[in-house]
Assembly symmetry: C2
Amino acid sequence: MNTDTALAALAALSHPTRLEAFRLLVQHEPEGLSTGQLVDASGLSQSTFSTHLAVLAKAGLVKSEKRGRQFIQRAEIDALKGLMIFLAKDCCQGRAELCEPLLAELSCC
Amino acid sequence: MNTDTALAALAALSHPTRLEAFRLLVQHEPEGLSTGQLVDASGLSQSTFSTHLAVLAKAGLVKSEKRGRQFIQRAEIDALKGLMIFLAKDCCQGRAELCEPLLAELSCC
DNA sequence: AATACCTATCGGAAATATACGATGTGTACG
DNA sequence: CGTACACATCGTATATTTCCGATAGGTATT
């Protein structure tokens, strides 16, 4: 993950609607949710949510798969992993002492 | 870290200038850098950078400490850690199988 | 073929973010 | 005390984001 990709992912997740949608999709891995289900959950208009979804897709955080006449959306866990590694490397580049407590807390889950 | 705090951190880091400044500060832990040094590194005007710095500070990612007539800025590693745990919990909430490969790659650093 | 359904895109209005120079506030130095 | 310095804030112009309704483009159903 390069800087531009990380910036796109951070910007995509920095909006309440998109963060909530992404979290919802992660919770529903690996089955995914249809776009309509996500629209309903968001409470926004269909068109507005569609643009939000496009932002998540462009950032590589969500992939869609055609299923009959609807689209099933799925969270890209690898993209989240990439973003976290990008952030972690900020503090780990040759400074393991900064990262150790981070890894210790992460291993709780 | 609650959702609002995470959103503020994500938004703060989603701008090239602010992400770069934060990474610079992480690299200079624990000594920190003066605001002026950060302004110079950014290439932006002093006032513009000051507002960017305020965003990082409001998100809790940077703390400043008065040092003579200048301010020393320091990265809050704990805030980064909190954000990463917030993101990790999205995929770990009772789904350890999603998180294992993440932790495996993170332990590299 | 006609219709109903699901989602994307267009057009436009309102809100927010971003940038700068100018100015204000406080601190050290002579 | 006066001056130079370090940083924040104000005022303002521009760009971007966000939202909606309306419309377009496919896909299944009848």
